[in-house]
Symmetry: C2
Subunit: 354 residues, 2 copies
DNA sequence: ACCTATTTTTGAATCGATTCAAGTTTGGTA
DNA sequence: TACCAAACTTGAATCGATTCAAAAATAGGT
């Protein structure tokens, strides 16, 4: 393939204008059948298969593809139980609309800036569970439309989020209803300071990440309504990974003698906590109950099956994709809050006696 | 944002040439510090954040992104145990090289043609486990470099594949060594004819999909070496999904009275087979042994843990990405065959007496 | 001050397509 | 035959950046 064949070459070979060749490929109804055949014959003889997407992109301005941005490593898209489901929903909606899908890593500041600035996409879906403000800033500066998932709905951007407050309330109510009073919380990150450990009252009041703040708000509101002092219930901030969850389980068990239950802000945390409790010789739920959040695939197949707050993660992905496609069509900015449900399985049971 | 600020606008505001502004952003070492400051000041005052990737793409010709193509639905990238691992490897290597990653669906002929023709990428990684020829044709016609994963290594293209022959030999040898003689095979697809069911000898000789053909060849070679007539061992062609695997298990159990083992061409097939055998009241491995191929994540956590042929799926993804990046740099076409190993867990045991 | 080598800057052409107002052709009707 | 409306075709400008040979500027040595 010594030389690229251009649309202009086809036009010359067929002795027609470039505009006509463009119409043959893009708007065939606007061209007479004879002309269509003439142009296709010329294209075939030159080995031209259709317009080069690079030329089209510059002139038309759009590429019909969306970038999904994560602040984690790209491989997390294929590994993390929550993220996989979210992406599956996005992928399904992409295919329904014939849109392309690009994966964009924002794993550190430098990479994020470069990738968001140079990705050839029409808009972004930002996975803002953690580090959302950074992603939102960068996307806004790129000047393309974006949807911020799990960003504060009151922020004024296009947002899709689960009802995290309600999820927190349902989870805490479930444990209270089972008689639990000595409870520990294993949380998601509060902000981007890479801090892990027992959370002070001051820090708890200043959670910057919306899911963390709202789930905690739901938990605490419910404790207060049940006559429990929210400040008596320790919070351990984790990185949503096995190592910090294990450290958190150990620390909270030590801080609350006779603890009977853990509230976990994600199923990934809950699953790691169950495994660690069992490794310490504690039975779930007989000795310690564990409730998660998300209802990812692994929740039901855990031994024992995990009680959790269910959000339709795939629907979140689908709604986010529909919103970004709509934003490109000029739809007004709005927020969508998705409902959550309590799913009782076998990781929670009545509180044991002291 | 009423009007897009272009590089040319910055050049005018800073009273320098467009070439200089381009150099400031792309080759800052070639510009004097004073000039750099002057241009950046102008850019900042105009709100210009850097070159528009669309203009760059057309002139520079490259976008520094790779498209991964599947002949399945896009969501399969996030759901199928084998595919997820493969993509995780690709994603990791992408990030290491600062390259973008696009997911490209080739789910049917029309979509495949359009998507491969219009994807804004520098090259493709084709997931050719099934329907590889179609994908290879389309990618070749697009005129971009590509890597065909699990395409026949002798095809002359850039190929990355597991040593499927050897994997077949290891799996069959393992069962023979355990005393199994009444064996059934649950295979992947033979060609694109959407056919499922017991495979005739004629069809078995004409498998067009390389992984199917080579794994079967390894199985049969080993049977022959052990004095077993390969034609006495039925093959059931599945779609690598639960439904056809269950039908295959039932059909093969009926065709081979006293059958003691299944050879499954993927772990996805093997896991579905184990579940179905157990649902039929058969014990694995006491009544029927099952061996898979791939060693995906779910293999070890199956009950009982699955004996399988292990291939380093992530390494396959990494190698494929390195090859496509190298192809874009002018590296010669070549094939890479990745080694496989037998991993004995608890889904295989000695053949029971008749 | 002059010369040479190196560094910096220039700017028109190029990349390949789409766009859309104007021009041309065709078909139907009076 | 003439006129009008609809269908079809035209083609230069535009999209926004990079390129690279030539021109200009700078620095160092004699």
């Amino acid at each position: 393939m010594a030389k690229t064949v251009k649309l202009a070459d086809v036009a010359k070979a067929a002795k027609v204008s470039q505009g006509t060749v463009s119409n043959v490929f893009n708007r065939p109804d606007m061209v007479s059948p004879e002309m269509r055949e003439r142009v296709m014959a010329a294209a075939d003889s030159l080995g031209y298969r259709g317009p080069d997407p690079r030329g089209r992109l510059l002139r038309a301005g759009r590429v019909n593809a969306i970038g999904v941005v994560t602040s984690d490593y790209l491989r997390n898209f294929f590994e993390n139980g929550y993220t996989r489901r979210f992406l599956a929903g996005i992928a399904e909606e992409c295919e329904r609309h014939g849109a392309g899908l690009s994966l964009v890593s924002a794993q550190n500041d430098e990479i994020a800036d470069w990738n968001i600035r140079t990705a050839v996409v029409d808009g972004f879906i930002l996975n803002c569970v953690v580090e959302g403000s950074r992603l939102v800033d960068l996307a806004a500066r790129r000047g393309l439309p974006f949807v911020a998932v799990e960003f504060p709905p009151e922020s004024g951007f296009n947002v899709v989020a689960a009802d995290d407050d309600q999820g927190g309330r349902l989870a805490a109510s479930h444990l209270i209803g089972l008689g639990h009073r000595r409870i520990g919380i294993l949380s998601l990150e509060f902000d981007d300071s890479d801090k892990t450990g027992i959370v002070s009252e001051e820090r708890a009041a200043q959670a910057r990440y919306s899911p963390t703040r709202k789930r905690l708000h739901g938990y605490r509101e419910t404790f207060a309504g049940a006559g429990l002092d929210p400040r008596s219930i320790p919070i351990y901030e984790t990185f949503n990974d096995r190592e910090t969850v294990e450290a958190g389980v150990d620390a909270v068990l030590e801080a609350v003698p006779g603890l009977t239950a853990f509230l976990c802000m994600s199923d990934v945390i809950a699953i790691a906590a169950v495994h660690h409790l069992q490794a310490r010789g504690l039975r779930v739920p007989e000795d310690v109950s564990v409730i998660g959040f998300d209802d990812i695939d692994d929740a039901a197949s855990l031994d024992p099956p995990l009680t959790t707050i269910r959000q339709d993660i795939e629907e979140k992905g689908r709604v986010a994709m529909r919103k970004i496609l709509g934003a490109s069509e000029g739809e007004p900015v709005s927020s969508v809050i998705l409902p959550v449900d309590l799913v009782v399985r076998r990781s929670t049971g009545p509180a044991r006696e002291p």
